[in-house]
């Protein structure tokens, strides 16, 4: 069995940034395992621009952003295996993987970083009634077909879900000559960024119908039409509001799910809200030496934040490899209540945390003129006014080690939304 200091599962933005950071923090024997035929992950198909404003202070396309990190990995001679699928991760950090060249093989790792990303919610998971013809794609599949493989998946299109990929694909299909008739969104607000609604829908006069969903798919061989209807506050279709569209393609952009099958085989505890691992401030899971970052941990809006988080995971994994198990220091629990759906991390170690730890979270609904309040125990520590917060945009609170040091008996931190 071969041995590595660090095995990183996934060669997308999270895996690449984690590898670079671990190497820069003194770890020599690193292996990135990637199942696709190139590094870069989903960024390779995100050919639109808008990436990198935080990281590189310029606007890049997805492949360019990935390219910068791939270059850093290659400059550092970090090893990677492409076309390789990890089959299993054990609790004692043995990684079982396979590919066409090596067959099945096992690697013993001192530390592992989970960076597998996420996948799209499928039609099956959405329970859309109707026939099951060809012509129903997840928005990401259509994106890959158009941008990398050079196929057009259809000509007359309806899109369900207004997540960013759906919006981006509405524009992309339009520019490639398709007619995108409507984007239907179940919720009363869009899950996508405002900028994408304006530049992908408004620019091309594509209507966005909020509080609408698909209630029927027609067509035996190929999609021939779909029916959408308005939904009430209970998100159930309202009879009499049905509208029919003739179309040959339905794209689904209805949310992303962290891909944690491997985490489960290792015995990593998952959050039932994010579907990602529960981690402490070092981004370490309940299994010592197993870290998680990027969309496998929780779904991000901006890749810049993925890189930042992953770089942190790489640094912490390096520390673990060099110094071994962290002292049995105390954990302070972070509670997400009153409009805050979850936080990442969920716990923080006041004695061992970095000087500054970013707590990222999402809100459960749209809030206007509210504040984000942070409590240490019952004491209000910080209150920050926000004009608007929406579930589609990740928020953050920064905790300082120096501040926590003033509260030696602290057991609980609470983050909540309050009136301004």
């Amino acid at each position: 069995m071969s041995q590595y200091d660090l095995v990183i599962v996934g060669g997308g933005p999270a895996g690449l940034a984690a590898a670079v950071s671990a190497k820069d923090n003194g770890i020599e024997k690193i292996l990135i395992i990637e199942r696709d035929n190139e590094l870069g992950g989903i960024l390779n198909q995100c050919i639109h621009n808008g990436f990198g404003l935080h990281t590189f202070k310029e606007e890049l396309t997805g492949p360019e952003y990935a390219g910068r990190f791939i270059e850093q990995v290659k400059e550092r001679n970090i090893e990677y295996k492409l076309n390789t699928m990890v089959m299993d991760i054990s609790a004692d950090k043995v990684v079982t993987a396979m590919n066409r060249v090596d067959g099945m093989f096992q690697i013993e790792a001192k530390a592992i970083i989970l960076a597998m990303g996420c996948r799209e919610r499928s039609r099956g998971a959405l329970n859309i009634p109707g026939y099951r013809p060809a012509g129903i794609y997840s928005a990401g599949t259509a994106q890959r077909l158009v941008n990398i493989e050079g196929y057009m998946p259809g000509h007359k299109v309806v899109i369900l879900g207004s997540g960013d990929i759906g919006l981006i694909m509405a524009r992309r299909m339009t520019l490639e000559g398709a007619e995108v008739q409507v984007v239907a969104e179940l919720m009363p607000y869009s899950g996508g960024l405002k900028r994408n609604i304006v530049q992908c829908l408004d620019d091309f006069d594509i209507p966005l119908k909020l509080s609408h969903t698909v209630i029927d798919i027609e067509g035996k061989e190929r999609v021939t039409g779909i029916t959408i209807a308005e939904v009430g506050p209970d998100r159930k279709p309202i009879p009499g509001t049905e509208e029919h569209y003739d179309c040959d393609t339905l794209l689904l952009s209805c949310g992303l799910l962290p891909e944690n099958e491997l985490s489960k085989t290792a015995g990593v505890t998952l959050s039932n809200i994010t579907s990602g691992p529960i981690v402490n401030d070092a981004l370490e899971t309940n299994i010592e030496g197993v870290f998680a970052c990027g969309n496998v941990l929780h779904v991000h809006d901006l890749v810049d934040f993925v890189s930042e988080e992953a770089s942190n995971a790489g640094k912490n994994a390096a520390k673990y490899i060099k110094e071994g198990k962290s002292k049995n220091s105390k954990n302070v629990q972070i509670h997400a209540v009153d409009g805050v759906r979850y936080t990442v991390p969920c716990t923080i170690r006041p004695d061992e945390m970095d000087d500054k730890v970013t707590i990222r979270f999402r809100v459960g609904q749209v809030f206007t003129d509210c504040s984000v309040a942070t409590y240490f125990g019952d004491e209000l520590i910080n209150k920050r006014a926000k004009k608007i917060m929406a579930p589609g945009e990740m928020e953050q609170v920064i905790l300082l080690k120096s501040k926590l040091a003033e509260y030696p008996d602290l057991k609980d931190i609470t983050i909540k939304i309050e009136e301004a």
Partner: protein, 121 residues
Amino acid sequence: MEERHLTCIGCPMGCQLTVTMENGKVTNVTGNTCKRGDIYARKEVTNPTRIVTSSVRVKGGKIAMVSCKTKEDIPKGKIFDICNALESVEVDAPVEIGDILLRNVCDTGVDIVATKAVGCK
């Protein structure tokens, strides 16, 4: 006097902006709650520009398409012309990031450059 209605893209607020224009000049912006809205509205009604991103076929490459973009902003009205012009473009592998794939697309003075490296098959 002419009125234009826009949604601001500066932040998730998405303020509904109303721009008043006279003889092609902006006389007033309302509906914005911060300065960014004002700046966005003035640019958007007088000189709206976009970066166009697409992909073109690559001959003998590891993958079928290479992604590309306009090197600089182009006038919003030229988006479709540029996409049509790119339809017939085919380049030879290998391609490096930043390689010029098409010069002066649609007489905009802007080149189309590759945004991805594609090696030979």
